[in-house]
Symmetry: D2
Subunit: 397 residues, 4 copies
């Protein structure tokens, strides 16, 4: 079992704590730090944490702390990581790692130099659906991956600091795009280098400096395309969907709005049904077990097992750094209006990529391009001549 | 933490064990019994169980055993429960409790007389969706419950003993109906007495004596209707759905086939996608985290927390007995072709039920029966005269 | 082109008229009858009908009338049909044909004796999905049909006469069950004799004498089961779904609530989205083309083509009569609490039915009962010994 | 009624003809032209067309021809339109209008100069769902439109000429993007000027010069974004979906793969289930009435009603020209890797656009940015100070 120091006591700290104390897990939150006394105290009471404090070092340095869980606003990440480095404590940190790649790189280099365990709490690559999808893709069920889109949109974040460009490091891109980019990486292959990014971003509705809506494309070394769609202007709840296309198949995941639970109610006695739900009457789509659906259960199991067994978790600060580098390119592209290269000082994946593009054989003379039954009953094949490269159609029967 | 003796090493024992060892749970399977040596040995190896045996008493009686988990075929339930009673060990048992109510009642009385902890492993009332639905219903989101249907159909069970009427106690009704009946009870209210049952059952396809398809209605004391639809002849995987109607709302749960994960594949490298899936190419509907979706996680958390904290779990042998009594009435009805009373020697719920059937007021003179906008734009209300009881329509605007 | 006399000017007459004048159809409504002057006049104006009247015979007897379309409340059906018989005019009639089988049989015998064209406007067996499903089933895509359920539930009808048991002939069963019963017949086979009915009915919510909720089972001569679920107490709109199970497949149709159109709106400017929708904000499920989705287009095309070409339409008074006979048995069963025989004085379908129940061969010695991959990776088959009939399991690989 | 000359006798000509002869429509195909004798002859036989010919002018010029329907490959559009111009015949043409904007503009100017009726057969803005969505949006159900995505992907076209860049004018962009771009225009407003386009395109799988996969963004004068996703590499059938975001709501349309019809079959006797379906067993999603779902019914009703009544149809050559201009910019952008302006020599919409971006009032001092109930039960609002512009959060209750 692990002793955990929780830094932060707000929205995400409470989600994490709910997961950490569920299902008879043996790990314990042994200290909690918050900037505000009453918040630290309330968290300590709610989760039976023996020590609460408004001094970060105090929460970290106690001997019963095996690992620090950073659940603070973005602008406090570097300070908190450096405190862990100084104390020589293992650390896991909420997303995004930094507000930009330079900040992220400093954190990565610090934890690696200190030789401490470091985990990146990118929950959405740990959702049961994401894990199953990664497994099916690695078995070849989709063939070669061509495109991986991840979409996260909702009506806007729940705390004031998100709306401040300086503190957050940006708007919807840094808040939501970090999820989408890492999700696409897990489908395309985390060892495939992201080369360049094209991004549109705008402030369409909200009264802020940062973007409230953005769409980006990330081109990878093997020709695959990652796509992110993020917004704080979406109406209707939390929209969290992935779509993947491969040469042998397609995969659609709906993590939130349509997961097999539908309810109509006239509105009596409904209450909380799901994160960022916008209504309490009419047709609703409750999420039954958010801690599991959002990946928190599998994420902390991986993190704490890895810590105990002395190996790296699935997601480390290095992954957080790569994500920041991709998002930096997205921000540059939104300004320059052209594709911008992903600048990676550190790259640990493949450096050469080979793509096999051979078509399946139709017969001795032709490759099969496609086969179709038309609405008027004809069975047709489209073929390519192996020698001339010419494309022809042939009606069978 | 609890030491668990596992009786049985097959399909369901492995599902249970997967849940019991997941997510850093502190509990341990300390012994395993199986009728076949090689099966016991393999299970012990796969789940690192220190003791395996082909003698049931030996697995149960060890001092490190805090609770026995019975995962045996139906005809061995009573024998196993009685062994726990003799050893004075806490016990939890897979569904159904008995092959009929008389057997179930003997088990209930034995564990109660012995004063041992007893849990009924009805996983499907513990699925995250069921738990959330029970909570929403108890808050009043659906108003008064009128009808609760649960459907479980698939292409047939995985072990030979299920197909033997004597060993199993029946066919699809005893195998699947036990789930559906208890699910409906949790929605309608476990303290509302089931009065009578009407059931159709037939052997439409399979080469067996027992029924492979059945549909039943259970009438409750408050006028609500429970409905079960069970079959071993369904094609297309495991169909596991609930529908509930109340005066204020509707609730639809799909526990398996449509939960937000869809995949098309040409068939390369697919493998196991979900329990009882029937194909490995084309459009598939993988279930990402069966242990959680099927309720095993929340069920064992409840059972072992209850054991530790010294209170009853949500589901006890008493619930198993009530379910058996309802199913007995279903079997009688299938033969007699009329409604059959549920015979409950033991009943611990409400004995008088009051149903409030007042309509909402429309104005001083009328109750509102319904309101509708027609396809040609008229806004209509149907009203009932409070004095005369007459029903009229009125076009607004 | 056909000249049509429309009897009735309300909800259903307007739906029919919308279909009859759409998509450049050449047919014309040449007269309209209504019991109320202002209603007849308004209908005539809206649909440019040259003649309107409050005398039924006048609307029917005009020389330009080729066919009469009866869109009147149930208690006026017989009178209207007899008027057509006297005038020797072709007739098509809204559902149900009669309030009971005796009334239906009189109408059937009258039109047949008069030798006039007669069509039964059971629109829901003409929905594009129903027609496609019937075609796929007739091709064998589902194998032998085992069970066909049709469900129609909504928050209650739109006109006062529906709520009067005497005028309507009953409640939700006669109003909605007539659809469900005929839908099941088209899937099971209209030439397969319905033998007996088991039905539960209750008045759970509405202030009426007739039933507002009912569930029934219809057993057919080939062992197949038809099921209807009807209610006026459903919350959430119009729920119109069919499910069919066969030995080779499964079919699910959602005719209304989930047809690929979903909208969330804060509620500004929404208006009519679908028949019997209950809300105008939150998540809504608009029906794009109700005339087509509800079968009106294909129904009138079939009726008027049949009239022109001199053959019977898909649905005739005979079908209406069979439906009434089944519903009569349902009402009897709801009272007697046992299965009741379907009393058919006239039956024109098969009188002997043979059901082939041979299992597929597994090898020389065994039939294949089922095949499954378990969650722990085992590939299992359940087999039946061809000689002994014994069922065994075998683990492959 | 109209007499129609059909130019072309292949896939799309047959879809059109099926719609034109359905549901008792009075219009008649009076002549058919095909480049191949046997194809013209077969079409004439199948659809009972009195005149067939391999000389285009002959099909057009006959006196009984009221309108010409051009269903030819892209490279023959201009030639066919000019023939109609010379004959002074009304014309409607399949999509895209031209292979590029210059070709489209020549056709537009020619028909306008000749003063003949001209319709652009963009069926997908005529699907029942599109028409209903356009109506709901125009009523304000979604508020101000922010983003409109349309996606059309499938496993590749059915005739050889599509695969030839010269004849088709491009690949997936010209083939499918023309639909998506016009769909987005109808949601955003056809009078809002498209300003610039950013597009990624690649040849990921197929052995062709043109692109088989592309994603593009179109920025409009009011800040709204249109998005198209097109591919010939998709696996799993025909994916045809729209998503629209507005300040007051969200709209999702699935035109094909998930429209309320699901079937599992072991594969016996299935046959054609939907255009470009890829399998005939397992879970299938049949499309019941493709002619209606794909918009052909409503499109031809609009076209021929407009012709008869002497006004313009919803879609004219002008719309086809605008679409081509947008696609030209997409192709330029795919090469230049930056946003490219839409070059419109002719623009007939708004020239000045005002966007209202006022937030709703929360109280005297604050605007409401958003409201949320968190998973731990807090009710929070995010507010903007009307004077200072500062964003704050406030916890209610």
């Amino acid at each position: 079992m692990a002793g955990i120091a929780m830094l932060g006591s707000g929205f995400i700290a409470r989600f994490y704590a709910d997961a950490l104390v569920s299902h008879r897990r043996p790990d314990r939150i042994v200290s909690v730090y918050s900037r505000r006394t009453e918040s630290a105290e309330r968290f300590a009471k709610d989760y039976r944490v023996p020590v609460w404090t408004t001094r970060m070092e105090e929460a970290i340095s106690r001997p019963e702390v095996d690992i620090v869980c950073i659940s603070l606003p973005n602008h406090l990440h570097e300070e908190a990581v450096m405190a862990c480095v100084r104390a020589g404590k293992a650390v896991m940190i909420t997303k995004p790692l930094g507000r930009h790649a330079a900040e992220a790189l400093r954190m990565l280099q610090a934890v690696e130099k200190a030789g401490i365990f470091h985990g990146y709490l990118e929950d959405l690559v740990y959702t049961p659906k994401s894990l199953k999808a990664q497994q099916l893709i690695s078995q070849g069920a989709l063939g070669r991956i061509l495109w991986a889109k991840s979409r996260e949109t909702h009506p806007g974040p729940h705390s004031e600091w998100f709306w401040n460009k300086e503190l957050a490091g940006g708007g919807a891109i840094i808040d939501l795009g970090c999820h989408c980019v890492e999700i696409a990486r897990t489908y395309i292959g985390k060892d495939i280098r992201p080369l360049e990014v094209m991004c549109w971003a705008d402030t369409q509705v909200k009264p802020i400096e940062a973007e409230d809506h953005a769409i980006g494309l990330v081109r990878y070394a093997n020709g695959a395309i990652g796509q992110f769609e993020v917004s704080w202007t979406f109406r209707g709840g939390l929209d969290l969907r992935d779509e993947v296309m491969g040469t042998e198949g397609t995969l659609w995941i709906n993590n939130f709005l349509r997961t097999g639970f539908e309810m109509f109610t006239s509105g009596k006695g409904t209450g909380y049904t799901a994160e960022k739900a916008e209504s309490e009457s009419g047709w609703l789509f409750p999420v039954a077990d958010e801690l599991n659906e959002l990946g928190y259960q599998h994420m902390f199991t991986d993190m704490l097992n890895a810590l105990e067994q002395g190996h790296q978790p699935r997601e480390t600060f290095y992954d957080g750094y790569v994500v920041n580098a991709i998002l930096d390119a997205a921000y540059r592209s939104a300004r320059s209006k052209q594709w911008e290269p992903v600048q990676l000082e550190v790259w640990r994946g493949q450096t050469e990529v080979h793509v096999d593009r051979t078509l399946p054989d139709y017969d001795e003379h032709y490759y099969l391009v496609k086969e179709e039954t038309t609405h008027y009953g004809a069975r047709k094949v489209i073929l390519q001549d192996k020698k001339t490269g010419e494309i022809i159609e042939r009606v069978l029967s």
